[in-house]
């Protein structure tokens, strides 16, 4: 085996507030493993992205193997394994949004932010050099009636036009 095992230099741990939240949510599930998704969201909110230290910590907390955590992290596109911008902009490109010109939305954002679109395993590609924005395409955001839509962090923006996009971005 040529590869050396990764050395975790700065271990991750929940801060006081998140620990309280974790303690509360773990009680809602029949088995600890079932709390995987909310725990990972909590950890990602604190750490910014899912580092090996985070995976190890979450595995310990939920009493599962590290691989089980890695499995979930790579399955769901909402978990990031590399640093992302302060604002993550998710552009829906599923059918109804596509029919309502999500490509125009995406192109407008690309030009405005001067960045490419992130690939699932290469988020740096869609992140602006100043670390402010990460631009990515996502599947359905469940708001087809108000297409095209984007999400900026946790906020949904609907019925987009270039002007609306400019306004949203400029107000950030």
């Amino acid at each position: 085996m040529s590869d050396e095992l990764i050395q975790i230099e700065t271990p991750f741990a929940f801060n006081e507030e998140n620990q309280r939240e974790f303690d509360a949510l773990i009680g809602r599930y029949p088995v600890k493993e079932a709390a995987m998704l909310p725990t990972l969201h909590l950890a990602q909110r604190q750490a910014g992205y899912i580092t090996p230290a985070v995976m190890k910590y979450v595995a310990e907390q939920l009493e599962v193997s590290v691989m089980k955590v890695k499995d979930v992290v790579t399955f769901y596109p909402m978990f990031f394994e590399e640093p992302v911008g302060e604002y993550v902009i998710r552009v829906c490109h599923t059918l109804p949004c596509a029919l309502r010109d999500c490509k125009g939305v995406l192109d407008h954002l690309k030009t405005k932010l001067d960045t490419d679109v992130a690939a699932e395993t290469n988020l740096a590609k869609g992140t602006t050099p100043d670390g402010k924005f990460t631009l990515m395409k996502v599947e359905c955001l469940a708001s087809c009636d108000v297409a095209p839509v984007i999400m900026v962090n946790d906020d949904l923006h609907k019925n987009l036009t270039p002007e609306k996009i400019d306004e949203i971005i400029d107000n950030l």
Binding site: L5, T51, S65, M67, K68, K70, F75
Partner: protein
């Protein structure tokens, strides 16, 4: 028992048997990838689809069910009397209808969508379920014209490589690591058609954990395709050139059932063989990779004799003459004969017979005590005693002729006061403690029978080249009282000989009347003379082994 109509057969099967097993019991193949007898059943590969039949009231007839079902999870049970089909069947299922055949071929086409055409360089070729099922159940061409996924080849652990392109994502390996070894190193990364087996790694690909548990090699065995590959066997031989013999692992006292795969020039690999009560489907990597000493260039190939303080190769006649000369001038009470927990029951039987009949001594010892670490897994145990036949050697050496078998300190005390010691070892890696060294050093004339130069042979005056488990027939008794057969595969190197034959030759030189021709003949005598071993003839032991009545033996 459930009464089942399987195709055109009427069969009885135990309640709880699934369709795949029921069919297998009657010589009918239901192809499958994800299903494995020793693991849980996710039914994800869809290869084992079969066609259950149900009663359809509107038609008043028994018809094929609307959907095909996975044979691995379709469990056969006795139905209540009012639910019998045709008034008698508990279940009706077809594995050979056109619908089933088409489903199989189509599933196979899907499984092969991203599969590379690298069979010519694939280690699994010749023992590959993709090849075999394609041949028996598949289409002869693919309709897929898109670009294939080409995930990278990955290093998973000390002995396991993943050729991810060949993987059909059956997840047997993941379930093995979760359920049998309980170590959980394996999982799936990414999603959908980009699913890949992997160990946990950082985003950059540096592992957090590797597949290095002591059962890791089993994932290579259960991989139905050429995705998981043993580095030890990689590119060594096409599997169809290997001869196979059923045997027993000599790595510890568990006695895992194995298949020794070999060619004339040596042993190539060991594979576990199913035994319900001993090792199920598995074996550990210590045993699996522990065969290399058999092929070693350092193997003792000629007798050695001490000339001017150095061990010098000689021929058998000279070595035996030297021993005979020495033994004939020594008093019986100055001789100690030491058997081996690495040797077979037959080796040890002949040895004690030699001690009793020819040397007229009852002073026997057992060169055992090869301690290592025990490892316990959820569904597997590795024993701390690294000798395969401690139980057998102890019983056989001591059970007849009123022998006493000395072990440990008592043995070494005896050795230090002996003039001649005949020590059969076969455990060349066993380190000697200082007291043991001192005892051996003090022996006037030390005869050692072994397979490799070792700490013991250093003290020897004559070294006789013996044989490993791969070069002889015989039986081992494991720690739970199972007597099982090992079989000769390759010839011993050079002029090395089977251990009991050497002992018999010595006996003859000294005027003994021993005349065994093959190991099975000795086993017959063991069956007759050793308490508890009455059924332990080679014929009765066969491939399944027999359990001694008194399991403390």
């Amino acid at each position: 028992m459930a009464f089942v109509k399987l195709n055109d057969l009427e069969i009885e099967v135990e309640d709880g048997t699934n369709v795949v097993e029921a069919a297998r019991q009657h010589g009918i193949e239901v192809p499958h990838y994800c299903y494995h007898q020793g693991l849980s059943r996710p039914a994800n590969c869809r290869m084992c689809l079969v066609e259950p039949h149900v009663f359809f009231p509107p038609a008043g007839a028994i018809v094929p069910d609307r959907q095909l079902a996975t044979g691995c999870t379709t469990v056969l049970r006795t139905a209540p009397p009012d639910r019998k089909l045709d008034g008698k069947y508990d279940f009706i299922v077809r594995t050979d209808s056109e619908r089933v055949k088409k489903a199989r071929a189509d599933i196979l086409e899907f499984l092969l969508v991203h599969h590379p055409l690298d069979c010519p360089v694939c280690d699994q070729a010749g023992e590959c379920d993709l090849q075999d099922y394609s041949h028996r159940h598949g289409h002869d061409k693919s309709r897929y014209l898109e670009v294939k996924n080409v995930p990278p080849k990955k290093d998973l652990g000390p002995d396991v490589l993943l050729y991810a392109t060949r993987c059909v994502v059956c997840t047997r390996c993941i379930r093995f690591a979760d359920e049998v070894s309980g170590t959980g190193e394996l999982g799936l990364v990414h999603r959908g058609s980009h699913d890949e087996i992997d160990i946990p790694r950082s985003h950059e690909g540096v592992p957090l954990q590797v597949l290095d548990n002591k059962l890791a090699g089993n994932v290579v065995d259960i991989c139905p395709v050429g995705a998981l590959i043993s580095k030890d066997f990689l590119f060594k031989s096409r599997p169809w050139f290997l001869e196979k013999a059923n045997s027993v692992c000599s790595g510890c006292s568990v006695g895992c059932n194995i298949t020794v795969e070999y060619k004339a020039d040596g042993v190539y690999r060991l594979k576990p063989r199913f035994h319900e009560d001993i090792n199920q489907h598995w074996m550990c990597d210590d045993g699996r990779l522990g065969y290399h000493y058999v092929n070693s260039d350092d193997r003792l190939q000629l007798p050695l004799k001490r000339v001017d303080d150095a061990l010098t190769p000689t021929h058998w006649a000279d070595a035996l003459a030297t021993i005979t000369e020495k033994l004939s001038e020594i008093e019986t009470e100055d001789i100690v004969v030491i058997g081996s927990a690495q040797g077979t029951n037959e080796d040890n039987y002949v040895l004690q017979q030699f001690a009793h009949d020819v040397l007229k001594t009852t002073q026997l010892g057992l060169f055992g005590h090869l301690p290592g670490e025990a490892h316990k897994f959820p569904q597997f145990t590795i024993e701390a005693d690294k000798n395969p036949n401690t139980a057998g050697a102890r019983t056989i050496l001591g059970s007849t002729n009123g022998n006493t078998v000395l072990e440990g300190d008592a043995l070494w005390e005896k050795v230090s006061s002996a003039k001649v010691v005949y020590l059969v070892s076969g455990a060349p890696e066993r380190p000697l403690e200082d007291a043991e060294k001192a005892a051996l050093e003090s022996v006037d004339f030390l005869i050692v029978q072994d397979v490799l130069p070792s700490e013991v042979t250093q003290f020897a005056d004559v070294v006789l080249p013996g044989t490993t488990f791969a070069e002889k027939d015989g039986t081992f008794t494991n720690s739970t009282g199972w007597v099982q057969r090992i079989r000769k595969t390759i010839d011993p190197p050079g002029e090395a000989r089977v251990d009991w034959e050497i002992t018999q030759q010595l006996a003859k030189q000294l005027g003994g009347e021993m005349n065994y021709h093959f190991a099975g003949e000795i086993a017959l005598e063991i069956a007759e003379n050793v308490p508890g071993y009455a059924d332990a003839t080679h014929q009765k032991i066969g491939d399944a082994g027999i359990k001694l009545a008194d399991s403390t033996q």
